[in-house]
């Protein structure tokens, strides 16, 4: 009987699965890029995505002043204005995500690679002072002022304490990532306008059915998501394979020491890698708000785990693998929720991952950012 549901809704499930999978794929790219270069599971990437959705929210409500839809009355019916609004929202979201990714790298990871400098020391010092101020005052403004006052002396000490040239063990990076992730999500939950509530994002794009594919309703937002994901994917692949900076990324992924000896600025390449991952997450964030019209401080958590699963499924460190893994995971989730009920879809997804890793221990396409042409 349940199988009947699968066949009845097969094409619908396929279309929605591909749309969801595209979002997974875009986030998975961030995991895979960072993993390829640093061998680090960047747990904070889920928060990069979350910051992107907040960016989209701010762009559409605060900057453009779009109201939440009442009675399906869309402010922009069609045409260039609509495209412009979407593009602007996307740009802001990508700016937020990219900025968050680079900031995390600069403040949290870079000192652990032994390249900490005055910027990372200052930001860490401010955070320390800010947190210390909690003991004195509950007022956020007062805390910030106390934090700023304390920044100087603490930064001086931190700068002296930072181990130069000594790299932390990988496990420590993982815990730092977890810490950064917690801090960012909580910061949004505490100081965001609606705290821990769910935010409704304004619906800009009218979700009308564009065409029918067999018996599936192909909505315009699904098409948009899939097209954007593939376009960003292609753009990223070209960037990594054809440009000078991309060559640097591949070189560092392949062999850090040799790359450094060949004159690659490793710290810069790592920063660019995080930036690229952040931009992809920003794209995913906009697409997410377009389809689901909502966000929340902890929205990144589950999507992050899923996307990381997708990255591993496709072969972590492999750009094409991220796309394949994302789409595959989206489809598997949709089909399995039709067969077993939606409460089992995560279990099925993880079992599929387990089975794939049994037979292909490095994922569907294998690890490859550095090895071959990505």
């Amino acid at each position: 009987m349940t199988n009947l549901l699968l066949w009845k809704a097969f094409w619908n499930l396929t279309v929605t699965g591909l749309a969801l999978g595209s979002i997974y794929a875009l986030i998975a790219l961030g995991y895979t890029l960072v993993y390829g270069v640093l061998r680090l599971i960047n747990f904070a990437h889920s928060e990069v995505f979350m910051v992107g959705t907040m960016g989209a929210l701010i762009a559409s409500t605060k900057v453009l002043g779009i109201d939440l839809i009442v009675n399906g009355d869309y402010p922009y019916k069609s045409g260039l204005v609509l495209v412009g609004v979407l593009a602007f929202t996307a740009a802001v979201a990508m700016l937020f995500s990219g900025g968050a990714a680079v900031a995390i790298e600069r403040v949290a990871y870079r000192p652990m690679r032994g390249s900490g400098d005055i910027v990372s020391a200052t930001v860490l010092a401010f955070l320390t002072g800010f947190v210390l101020a909690f003991f004195v005052s509950e007022n956020a403004t007062v805390d910030v002022i106390i934090g700023l006052i304390l920044t100087g002396p603490i930064a001086y000490g931190y700068l002296r304490l930072m181990g130069r040239g000594r790299t932390a063990p990988r496990l420590a990076f993982l815990i730092t990532a977890i810490g950064a992730s917690t801090a960012i999500a909580e910061a949004v939950a505490i100081w965001g306008p609606d705290a821990r509530e769910q935010y409704q994002t304004p619906r800009v794009l009218e979700k009308k059915v564009l065409f029918h594919f067999f018996d599936a309703d192909v909505r315009v937002d699904y098409v948009l998501v899939i097209v954007v994901a593939i376009a960003m994917m292609v753009g990223l692949t070209i960037f990594v394979n054809r440009t000078r900076i991309g060559r640097g990324v591949r070189a560092v992924a392949q062999d850090v020491e040799t790359a450094r000896l060949m004159g690659v600025n490793v710290d810069k390449v790592i920063m660019i890698t995080f930036l690229l991952g952040g931009l992809m997450a920003g794209g995913a964030a906009v697409m997410f708000t377009v389809i689901y019209d909502q966000t929340r401080y902890n929205i990144g958590f589950l999507l992050g785990i899923k996307s990381f699963t997708a990255a591993v499924l496709g072969g972590i460190g492999n750009l094409k693998g991220a796309l394949l893994g994302g789409l595959a995971l989206g489809l598997v989730e949709n089909y399995s929720s039709a067969i077993f009920g939606s409460q089992w879809k995560d279990v099925v997804a993880f079992v599929v991952l387990l089975v794939v890793l049994m037979f292909r221990p490095t994922g569907l396409l294998g690890e490859s950012l550095g090895r071959a042409r990505a």
Binding site: M112, R113, T128, P169, L171, A172, V351, L354
Partner: protein, 377 residues
């Protein structure tokens, strides 16, 4: 960058002092060392009734925090330390074993039978050990981060399955799990009642279990098994070539770690009396792992310290209300940036750190491939 001389001097002095204390401690006669340890342990038992001046939790009952949080986290961190710290296997789904232990106790004592808690305990430990072997057998051939994601999946599978299973009570979970049996010694008319109101007996029970577990783990650490784990952690291929059956010992690490996790889960279930799937989120795995790494991966004392910090810390600053997990995240980052080897690194790892300039070469001790440009200075 060069250090100004006074910073170097202070640093040197601190290091010397620490080393001197460690040496002095080891040179003391065995009787004295045992005596000091006994006094320390005795004080730990008295902690809920005679707390230290600053060690308290202003907003919640102190013995409750000790029994509900600290004891459970310490046990779980000890178990996870076997897997992550000693054998070097990254496990992101440790909460799964904890859940298996808790649910086994719940089902046997309240859900579908009514065994006393003590009778369910060995079954809970055995069940989580079996879970460890079942998870480990297919997955321990995977390496590093692949193992991490698979174990993460395992933890989620356990939680979601419990949520969807009517047998395990679904989202509502299982209620009225019995407390441990109360003890009454008639000669001195002394009661030890495991009830709802007083958390102290649970703390004492947990502390006793922790001491037994630490004793066993120390024996294990210095046995053939412990040496095999170290070898695997440092270089799995070399260990295999030297004749260590790596798969077997990795499976043992998983099973023993899981058993301790199950023990912690069973204790937790009997303390709070009701469990549901929300008690076992992925976040808990992350917190246990943070405890192990923050304390000093591979060191038993480190794992204990890390667990105490992770569990007690947020309770201590409860007056920060919802800002405390922000503080938690920031503190985690700052400690890891400035002390990546953990608060109390294991002596062996510290030696490796001094020797190689990085902490070990095993799967997880392996330094991140990107080092900085300037070698030093």
């Amino acid at each position: 960058m060069t250090f100004p001389p006074f910073v170097l001097r202070v640093r040197q002095a601190v290091n010397d002092r620490r080393r001197a204390w460690a040496v002095k401690w080891r040179l003391l006669p065995r009787r004295v060392r045992v005596g000091v340890m006994v006094l320390l342990v005795a004080y730990l038992y008295l902690l809920p009734v005679a707390p230290l001046p600053f060690v308290r939790t202003p907003e919640v009952g102190f013995s409750g925090v000790l029994a509900d949080q600290v004891v459970i986290y310490v046990l779980a961190a000890l178990g996870l330390n076997v897997v992550v710290g000693m054998a070097g296997l990254l496990d992101l789904g440790y909460v799964g074993f904890y859940a298996v232990g808790a649910y086994t106790t719940a089902v046997l004592s309240s859900g579908h039978a009514n065994w006393p808690w003590l009778a369910t305990l060995p079954v809970a430990i055995a069940a989580s050990m079996v879970a460890g072997v079942v998870l480990g057998t297919p997955t321990l051939r995977l390496r590093g981060d692949y193992l991490a994601i698979v174990t993460l999946g395992f933890g989620e599978i356990i939680r979601i399955s419990a949520n969807n299973s009517n047998y395990l009570g679904g989202p509502r979970g299982i209620t009225s799990i019995p407390h441990p049996p109360s003890i009454h010694i008639p000669v001195v008319d002394w009661h030890l009642d495991f009830g709802v109101l007083d958390a102290k007996p649970y703390y004492w029970l947990g502390l006793t279990i922790i001491i037994i577990v630490i004793f066993l783990l120390r024996r294990l650490e210095h046995s053939r098994v412990g040496r095999a784990w170290t070898a695997i952690r440092e270089d799995e291929d070399a260990a295999e070539l030297m004749g260590v059956p790596t798969f077997k010992f990795k499976l043992w690490a998983f099973a023993i770690g899981a058993a301790i996790g199950g023990l912690a889960g069973s204790l937790y279930a009997s303390k709070i009396g009701f469990i549901n799937p929300d008690n076992f989120p992925f976040l808990l795995s992350i917190l246990f792992l943070s405890a192990v790494v923050l304390g000093g991966s591979g060191n038993i004392a480190g794992a204990v310290l890390g667990a105490v910090v992770i569990s007690y810390g947020p309770e201590r600053i409860r007056n920060f209300s919802d800002r405390r997990y922000f503080v938690f995240g920031v503190v985690l980052v700052i400690v890891m940036v400035f002390r990546p080897q953990g608060l109390l690194p294991s002596r062996r790892r510290a030696a490796e750190l001094a020797h190689a300039g990085s902490e070990g070469t095993g799967l997880l001790g392996e330094p991140s491939p990107v080092a900085s440009e300037s070698a030093d200075g």
